[in-house]
Amino acid sequence: MLSRVADSLYWMSRYAERAENIARILDVNLQLMLDLPKLGPEEQKALWEPVLRSTGDHVDYDKHYKETTSDNVIDFLTLNPKNPNSILNCVTTARENARHVREQISLEMWEEINRTYLWMKSQTLKKITRQGPYEFFTQVKNASHLFQGITDGTMTHGEDWDFIQVGKYLERADMTTRILDANDEIFVKRPANKFQTGGTLQWSAILRSCSSHDAYRKFYVAQVEPDKVVEFLILNEFFPRSIRYCAGSLNEALRSISGCKDEHFSNMAEKLTGRLVAELNYSALEDIKTVGMHQYMDEIQIKLNNIGEAIFQTYLFSPPLTVIEEKVEEPKPTSKQSQKQGKSTTGA
């Protein structure tokens, strides 16, 4: 498969997943606010800042808005064309990448991502508010699920599909670390938090933003407790949005691409991923607590970033080849890895 094609499939998948995750984070915070007493500007700010940090866009945000209010944050993260990680831009970038590889993906995949794009283009903030943001976020999430389902059901599960999985799980793992990291103070400060009732609500919100509320309940048959939330979202073996599960799936996809056996590696990406998987497999909650949540999430984010960079170097980047006699013209800018990442490494 062409390196450029792999690159586009990978980013198509990452951006589709990112759009979904941003919708999740926004949705949950809005719902959380419904359960809280009417909030003043300071309190609103306190609730939204972690969200902005988790998408890694707080610096950008401050450039465009004076106040941190629900309306502003929704504007910024849904339809703002100036925010590279707004849902609109994520969908546009995913679709643009799909267009690049139009002949590689199935007709159904293309039509679905194109439909989502056309629908996004027709949205306005007014429409979103009128129909209720919940409706909007549900549609974004559903579009992503539909796209992933269509991908699974209509595309050959070969190398191209593997690259889509790589993008999806890397992005998802990254998003989960960001959600946890951005909210890390609630784990540290616990009841001292300014929302007395906010603790449980907030942990529930975090679970819901990862669609893991029901799964959590089923697994622990218990109240929502911060320790267990952390354990579930980082170390659970079977929940498809836990970091451990994502890392495992990423590992599988990478090995499926190279054909390299487990316990061995044929390139840097596999080595780093294998190491992360082993670490997560043999870690317990106590280990996270010893290091500290923020520190732990930071380290995982750095590891995920390094994996992303290694994938790029191994498969996606085409170094200029030296041709005898004359040098080859530099290929077009290829350092997409850093360019497209569009998110700062540390959330906080």
């Binding site: 062409l2 002949e103 039509e111 085409s318 080859v328």
Partner: protein
């Protein structure tokens, strides 16, 4: 009232009507079907088709606004019909033309017999903008230069078919031919069975066969064929990806290819993989910055060298643009006589060359009734339609012609045939042309149909999509009615 009750064929050759209310026999079945259609129902199908085009991303991008709006090409639901006997003649005529053009290209890039025998003035050919001296003495696989051709044809007031242009470089539009048919079948599923319409969907398979046929002999059982595109911002990108998908081949950009030891490779996740045939949708100028335009970042450095070494085949060959030159066009009937000793089956539009002093005088004195064209422009640019021009435009063209006579030709303004087309809520006559697609491999084949382009602006003679043109599905029938 039925949809076509008020239709006025006017003082033109109308494809569907002999006279007001009198339908040509090969349109009879279609006419009846449309007459039984409520306007509302028709409108519904029309918007369903438009929505489907948008959903599938069969669009082109308008860059005039910042948003980069994507638009669909206007599609007219009333198909154009060609009866079998007419098609047989068109097919024979284009096949003959194709053979002559390929022999001409072989000749001018080797012995130049036709120039030596003064059938065509040598300077007209050698000064053509797209004549490539780099290709002289370079053999091409199977002696085929033009593998894919999209000739433009028009009909005059009497209904006679003329070839207007040959388009032997990178003709586009075939994806619309194929997608229009799909759209029509979806909108009017019952129409096809009874009408006896010849299918078109084997085109991409035939195209792949041609591309494999010309691959250099290298022992690989299945040649590695790729399509080279300028990228997703090219207005024909949809077509490039469509064709690649239909053929199941890779679509590549210049940056995906690299030349080593005069062989072309593509960069894959598993390393370099050799390429045998490149269906390039990139003009000669951009193919290789080492040979042609130095500033081209779309091409592949070293490609021409690999091509000359016979390690990779290109479709179309380099240098076919010389046959597209509108001055050289004038001599195609002479080529047919010279190489094939046959009389041309299809007529050329009479063409005056500004480079000939006598003809030049005639041109500048009769600008009002002529169509003036730049010898190497396409897409409806660089053109003066005399009867529709202003005095200022004519003065401007006169100056341009006298300044650079080699670059201009003129033709009488043809009264192009018209076809009922749905405009502003009713059927009205609009001028049309026809672009059949010819493939030249082991044999010459022409997909039965073509792209009928229609000038949707009332009275306009310019059918190009860049100038407000739309298209129609084109039916070639098994029989004559």
């Amino acid at each position: 009232m039925a949809l076509l009750d008020k239709y006025q064929p006017g003082d033109f050759f109308d494809e569907m009507f002999i006279a007001e209310g009198k339908v040509r026999p090969h349109y009879a079945a279609l006419f009846e079907r449309f007459q039984n259609l409520e306007q509302e129902e028709f409108e519904q199908r029309r918007s369903a088709v438009d929505a489907a085009f948008l959903r599938q991303g069969i669009t082109f991008t308008v860059y005039s606004d910042e948003q980069g709006t994507e638009r669909i090409f206007p599609f007219d639901l009333m198909p154009r019909i060609i009866p079998a006997s007419e098609w047989t003649m068109i097919e024979a005529g284009l096949t003959q033309r194709m053979r002559a053009l390929n022999m001409f290209l072989k000749d001018i890039y080797s012995d130049q017999r036709i120039l030596k025998e003064k059938v065509i003035p040598a300077e007209e050919v050698l000064t053509a903008k797209h004549y490539r001296p780099e290709m002289v003495g370079v053999p091409v696989p199977k002696d085929i230069y033009i593998h894919i051709c999209g000739s433009d044809m028009v009909r005059d007031r009497e209904g006679t078919y003329f070839v207007l242009e040959d388009n032997g470089r990178c003709p586009s539009g075939v994806s619309y031919l194929l997608e229009n048919r799909v759209a029509m079948k979806r909108a009017f599923p019952h129409l096809f069975g009874s009408a006896g319409v010849r299918p078109v969907d084997h085109y991409t398979q035939d195209l792949l066969t041609v591309l494999q046929y010309i691959a250099p002999p290298n022992g690989r059982s299945t040649p590695n064929v790729v399509l080279l595109t300028p990228g997703i911002y090219n207005s024909a990108y949809f077509e490039h990806s469509f064709l690649a998908r239909q053929m199941g081949i890779q679509i590549v950009e210049g940056q995906d290819l690299v030349v080593q030891d005069k062989k072309v490779y593509m960069r894959t996740t598993k390393g370099l993989e050799q390429v045998d045939t490149i269906y390039r949708r990139l003009d000669d100028d951009f193919l290789d910055p080492k040979v042609f335009r130095k500033d081209s970042i779309l091409g592949v450095p070293g490609l021409v060298e690999a091509y000359r070494a016979g390690n990779v085949s290109l479709a179309n060959a380099i240098g076919t643009g010389v046959a597209d030159d509108k001055v050289v066009y004038k001599f195609v009937p002479d080529m047919i006589k010279f190489y094939l000793s046959e009389e041309p089956i299809l007529a050329n539009v009479p063409t005056y060359l500004a480079s000939d002093p006598k003809e030049c005088e005639y041109i500048v004195n009769n600008l009002q009734k002529l169509v003036v064209k730049a010898a190497n422009e396409s897409g409806g640019y660089g053109m003066l339609v005399g009867p529709a021009s202003t005095a200022a435009q004519r003065a401007e063209f006169k100056e341009k012609i006298l300044e650079n006579p080699r670059n201009y030709i003129a033709q009488p303004t043809l009264n192009l045939s018209r076809h009922p087309s749905y405009c502003d809520g009713q059927f009205d006559g609009r001028h049309v042309d026809l672009r059949p697609y010819i493939l030249c491999g082991e044999r010459i084949s022409i997909v039965p149909g073509g792209l009928t382009r229609v000038a949707l602006r009332k009275g306009s003679l310019v059918v190009n999509s860049s100038q407000g043109g739309g298209s129609k599905d084109t039916w070639v029938l098994y029989g004559d009615s």
